[in-house]
Assembly symmetry: C2
Homo-oligomer: 318 residues x 2
């Protein structure tokens, strides 16, 4: 028996178990999902959502943990969502990362949640925003969304954050990697972590150069700052917080925050709608209709477009 209004009320009061339960309900596509989301809606929109991305080994979890400490000192309630869209094989590494977060495990002003999106219907784009809504409604002032892994998932996370932090570290061939993954286009703030290592200045210079390669910026445009940190010793972390606050102020001043949140909401609705439509195709799949179409395609009796037209007709009636 799930009492959704009571759970939401308890989450508002800062009870970690209620927050955890609500996240489980929304990420597990429970029968209560719609009730939970409806109850949360009027309570959301207050949290500042910061995405942290970067290749494995740059120190994302250490940086996240240091940011939690900094925000807690400022009296903020903090939510951490650690999203792992990768293989079960990475479980070991993930566990190691999570241990660093245990500094905050007993702090009632911090919620930490890991989320494995692999196998999730709709993946990251579907599961993470719902968990962010729960943390937002529970009264978190700041939500740090950290992704493990590379590539597409980072871009997805960036689209769900108010501000995107891209982390790099010296000597990891990050310049090329960053370019490949397209993360040069998603960072609002860049952090070169492990800045006590050889090559940190070169990495920052290379990054600065690459950021300058883009189209000329108009006056008033945001120029992503590059902050050097040694997160393990909390060096430079206050400067990261400062850069985040500056970016937030700039977004509010220029209406960017409202536009981003609008775009995010639109994308979220679209993703849920497409997932629902895909499920209807899945139902047809169960009906063997899709199976029969696939057989005809393999045999060369039908092309995939004609087959898709038939499927769409089956769902929409036109």
């Amino acid at each position: 028996m799930v009492d959704v209004p009571q759970l939401v009320e308890q989450a508002r009061q800062g009870r970690p178990r209620a927050v955890a339960r609500l996240i489980s309900l929304v990420e597990g596509a429970s029968p209560h999902l719609r009730e939970v989301m409806a109850a949360l809606a009027p309570l959301t929109g207050n949290a500042y959502v910061v995405g942290l991305t970067g290749s494995p080994g740059v120190g994302k979890s250490t940086t996240t943990s240091a940011l939690v400490t900094a925000y807690r000192k400022a009296g903020k309630r903090v939510g951490v969502l650690a999203v792992d869209p990768s293989s079960p094989f990475s479980g070991g590494a993930l566990l190691g990362d999570r241990i660093r977060m245990s500094d905050h495990a007993s702090d009632p002003g911090v919620y930490i949640r890991s989320m494995a999106t692999r196998g999730h219907l709709g993946g990251l784009a579907w599961a993470a925003p719902q968990a962010i809504r729960v943390l937002d409604a529970a009264g978190c002032d700041v939500i740090l969304v950290e992704t493990v892994g590379v590539g597409q998932s980072e871009v997805e996370i960036a689209s769900q954050a108010d501000t995107s932090v891209v982390l790099l570290a010296p000597g990891m061939g990050d310049g090329i990697q960053a370019a490949k993954a397209g993360i040069l286009e998603i960072g609002d703030v860049y952090v070169v972590n492990k800045a006590d290592r050889d090559g940190a200045d070169a990495t920052a210079r290379e990054l600065n150069h690459m950021l300058g390669l883009g189209a000329a910026r108009a006056a008033g445009d945001w120029r992503p700052p590059i902050v050097k940190t040694v997160a393990a010793r909390a060096e430079g972390v206050d400067e990261v917080v400062e850069a985040l606050e500056k970016h937030r102020a700039w977004m509010e001043e220029h209406g960017v925050l409202a536009r981003r949140r609008h775009a995010r909401a639109a994308q979220e609705v679209e993703t849920i709608a497409v997932t629902a439509l895909r499920e209807r195709i899945g139902d047809l799949h169960g009906d063997r209709r899709l199976e029969a179409l696939a057989d005809r395609i393999v045999a060369g009796d039908c092309d995939p477009y004609r087959a898709a037209d038939e499927l769409v007709e089956g769902i929409t009636g036109s």
Copy 2:
């Protein structure tokens, strides 16, 4: 004026410009797309489709080029589809890679096509299979599909190939990278390229160990072989071809090839159908309906699930 039957006939005769024109028509979502796909359907199903994936720098293009040479020696017609789902920033690297393929540029038995899927509606999953169909219908015996980049796109490519080759190179931290990207689950054949470098044996051993970590295999199951190559000197390339042929024979013997192609066709239809449904949401988007819903969500007046229900109703009428 596009004469589709004539183009298809010319492509069948091996005219490269007709092949190129057909691919442009299918990847550009031309008004002739459906006519082209319908004309190609009865001509497809003969090509053996091999996917090649791996992190940047492992030598994918060099290996692909060496495989082309090997298959040409065996008298096969070969198609190469180089898919780049990454940022425009990688253009430089891509160009460098492509130059290696110029050995084959004047060979009428080889078709080479680059495909930038970024910005494509539906992305890689949508564009690549259509190009593969064109190359198949044009009489290619073997189609090599090479992806630039990492992560999700590799998994997508793997799902579109009959056989997936995963490339690694020594000393790139590939063990961890492979695990993160989940590529340990998609390889039918593994290649450790640049095997003349230090650490090649260690990489092969580590890979062998990691492959052994999976669930116990039943008798008759495919055990992915690990082949060491120096593709730049064509060393080990015949062994890769041999491994591919063995895998193909194994798939045919166990009905796996038919199952994979069936699954691929089903997935392809589903992707096209979902794209079509998504376009209908996009039409609603133009209608400002999605915009209005997003505003209500940001304001906390509506949750994304209720909004999605409204969108789906708008499309399906229920």
